[in-house]
């Protein structure tokens, strides 16, 4: 029974976001749809866009199917440049290794830039519970940190919040004027709040968008420059990198960097695209924690390894009509939206068993993906998995047991049609529109089952 308590009820969470007020969900939908529209305009401005997507997909598939070689090449090249590489098999390893590095450097105050991998490993609470003071430096991540929430979007962590929410939060947490709701001034206030923390920090933690096997270098893309300050000021830089981030060659970056920001936000490039080639001079250290945390296991799954191609652009989230109505918070997971649905169950298929059903299967995610991940198809495959492990909704399971028999038998199907006609005809409105029993009728009029079916008509008019 333990998993039942833990299970994420994504439908309920999404309904809460929709019914919260008339502002949050429509604003969320509008902002993300605008990102999708900007992405379309960017794509249209590049004649070779479709070739780029095909090529990126092929490079990712090549890299992942030769990952053992590329991991080795990357580690050797990075080590040669003076970077210290650590291997983490699990999230616990990842967190422990980082803590040990910090401890051996007497580092108790750290700044960090955005890293989905560190989120995935739940690193922040791990370090904080061991006395490390940790500050998120990405604006969206800092907002989420101050709110005690997970990021709700891969590249826009606080996109579910309005300016009013941020004004209220900053007034409460960093002492801004509660009536000041000017986005620029609020950003400036946080900038001033964060600056001294960079200067005081003993270590800076980043993630990486891409790692290059042939050089041992890695690339971090941001729009705020916070990763650059994080890496450039403190004497110790630790980067968490998932093994799937490795690309074979430096020249591949030309392709992936062109795709990333255009797909994510509809901008030609991120404001900062920083290449880290090795430790800085003057005795600073650079550590990489190369992390598996379930990736090689996923790579071995014939149906599900494709999700490892993901470059974390968030285009599938921006286009997803269900995500735009739900907010990322509803998914109760590090990764939300369509890509989250196919990644989260690889970590825990009981806790996230309802996520694959939180989709209208419209398929836009598959079509928008810059590396051609078959997301919608994988959502269906995850549904099959949930049915197999009996983690789908029991009510659906019983309904389909009945439907499966009815649809398999013409005779019983005809009887059910007639039963439906008379049943709905005779049932009073209070029953048909009962909000608990009938989810259709809560906000929709019921369609009428006809007395004369098409088949009845056909037999009467065409069969001699």
């Amino acid at each position: 029974m333990k998993f039942k308590r833990m299970k994420i009820n994504v439908e309920k969470n999404a309904a809460a976001f929709i019914h919260m007020d008339d502002v949050h969900q429509p604003t969320h939908d509008k902002n993300l749809w605008n990102a999708r529209m900007k992405r379309d305009r960017m794509a249209a401005s590049i004649p070779e866009w479709e070739q780029m997507r095909d090529l990126a997909s092929q490079i990712k598939e090549h890299a992942l199917t030769h990952l053992d070689q590329y991991v080795e090449q990357f580690v050797m090249a990075a080590t040669k440049r003076g970077t210290i590489v650590h291997f983490a098999k699990t999230a616990e390893d990842h967190n422990r290794i980082i803590y040990e590095i910090l401890k051996s450097h007497n580092a108790t105050k750290i700044v960090k830039s955005k890293s989905m991998l560190q989120e995935e490993c739940e690193m922040a609470p791990y370090l904080e519970s061991r006395g490390i003071e940790l500050i998120e430096t990405d604006l969206g991540e800092r907002i989420q940190q101050l709110s005690g929430e997970m990021p709700s979007h891969i590249v826009m962590p606080a996109i579910h919040k309005t300016t009013d929410d941020v004004a209220e939060l900053f007034a409460r947490t960093i002492g801004t004027d509660p009536n000041n709701k000017d986005p620029q001034e609020l950003t400036e206030a946080m900038r001033n709040n964060a600056r001294p923390k960079f200067l005081e920090a003993h270590a800076g933690l980043t993630g990486a968008n891409f790692a290059v096997a042939e050089t041992g270098a890695f690339v971090v893309c941001t729009n705020e420059g916070n990763a650059d300050l994080t890496a450039a000021i403190p004497p110790l830089h630790i980067a968490s990198i998932g093994i799937e981030k490795i690309l074979p060659k430096t020249e591949d970056l030309g392709l992936f960097i062109r795709l990333l920001s255009r797909s994510a936000l509809g901008t030609p490039a991120t404001q900062y695209t920083s290449h880290f080639m090795g430790p800085r001079e003057n005795g600073a250290e650079l550590h990489i924690v190369l992390t598996d945390n379930g990736r090689s296991e996923r790579l071995g799954k014939a149906e599900f390894w494709y999700s490892l191609k993901c470059i974390r652009c968030g285009a599938c989230m921006n286009t997803c009509p269900v995500y735009r109505r739900s907010s990322g918070i509803a998914y109760g997971a590090t990764y939300s939206g369509p890509i989250g649905i196919i990644i989260d169950p690889t970590f825990d298929d009981k806790k996230y068993s309802e996520l694959p059903f939180h989709s209208s299967l419209c398929g836009s995610c598959t079509e928008v993906c810059p590396v051609h991940i078959n997301i919608a198809e994988q959502i269906t495959l995850w549904r099959q998995h949930m049915v197999r492990i009996k983690a789908s909704k029991p009510s659906l399971h019983y309904a389909f047991n009945v439907a499966g028999k009815l649809f398999g038998s013409p005779k019983w199907f005809r009887r059910a049609e007639k039963l439906g006609y008379y049943g709905l005809k005779l049932a009073p409105d209070w029953l048909v529109y009962n909000k608990t029993l009938n989810a259709w009728g809560k906000n929709r009029q019921m369609p009428a089952i006809q007395k004369e079916t098409f088949r009845d008509w056909y037999i009467k008019n065409r069969v001699k």
Binding site: A44, T380, W382, V387, Y421, R444, M446
Partner: protein, 247 residues
């Protein structure tokens, strides 16, 4: 040309006029149409939810009913998409593969197989919005996909332009899902309804009188929302427009 007419379960029971319009239209176009009387459902509701075991009986029955036709035509994009692209709860024999390959949605059958150039027996003096379902767009490709840099086309719209009197208006979000999604519309009620309400609001912004679609299942959901909100919008299947009723 012998065509087996595939009338999905919900059209049989709820929208018999769509079945009649499709049958009459194909007959007018000189096609020999046969309706297998033992048909029920293609298995999509179960298949979509991942329940392969319970989809198998429906899929097997579908094949039994539709063996031996030159084409199988159905006025429902999502059901046809299930047959063509999923439909793998049963063993994939040569016969099953043949049936899947020959199954067409009505709009694509009229456009690509029959290549119909005119519908002189009908007229429709209304401003209309088109709803091509996600299955029809991204699955069957009856319309270009906005996510792709590819030549723009819309087979439904091209057919409607051949009907006298029709004015087609375009939506702000032409290929945004309406939130029907099969079982999703009841398991995820709040999100489904919100998506439907946003879709209906888009129609209302364009001030159209009718919504025309090759997929009645999406319209069932959209119509339910529009009626609850006392909207004057009317919803019809494209077969009804092309055949001149019955409405």
């Amino acid at each position: 040309m012998r065509v087996g007419l595939f009338i999905p379960c919900y059209i049989d029971a709820i929208y018999p006029k769509v079945g009649i319009a499709t049958l009459e239209l194909l007959e007018k176009l000189g096609v020999e149409v046969i309706v297998p009387l033992d048909q029920t459902c293609c298995g999509q509701p179960m298949g979509n939810e991942g329940d392969q075991k319970n989809a198998a009986a429906a899929e097997a029955l579908f094949c039994k009913n539709f063996e031996g036709f030159d084409y199988i035509v159905g006025p429902a994009g999502s059901c046809v998409k299930h047959v063509r692209q999923h439909f793998d709860a049963i063993p994939q024999t040569t016969q099953v593969q043949q049936i899947r390959k020959n199954t067409f949605e009505l709009v694509e059958f009229l456009t690509d197989v029959l290549q119909v150039s005119e519908f002189p027996w009908t007229s429709f003096n209304h401003s209309v919005a088109i709803h091509n379902s996600c299955s029809a767009i991204r699955g069957l490709h009856i319309q270009s996909r906005s996510e792709w840099q590819e030549p723009r086309f819309n087979k439904t719209e091209e057919l409607l332009h051949k009907v006298s009197g029709v004015t087609v208006k375009h939506l702000d979000r032409p290929d945004e899902c309406c939130g029907f999604g099969g079982t999703f519309c009841v398991t995820d009620e709040a999100v489904s309804v919100k998506m439907g309400q946003d879709k209906v609001a888009d129609y209302e912004r364009q001030e159209v009188a009718y919504v025309v679609s090759p997929d009645m299942s999406c319209l069932m959901h959209q119509q339910g929302i529009a009626e609850r909100d006392k909207s004057p919008l009317k919803f019809v299947h494209i077969a009804q427009v092309l055949n001149n009723g019955p409405y």
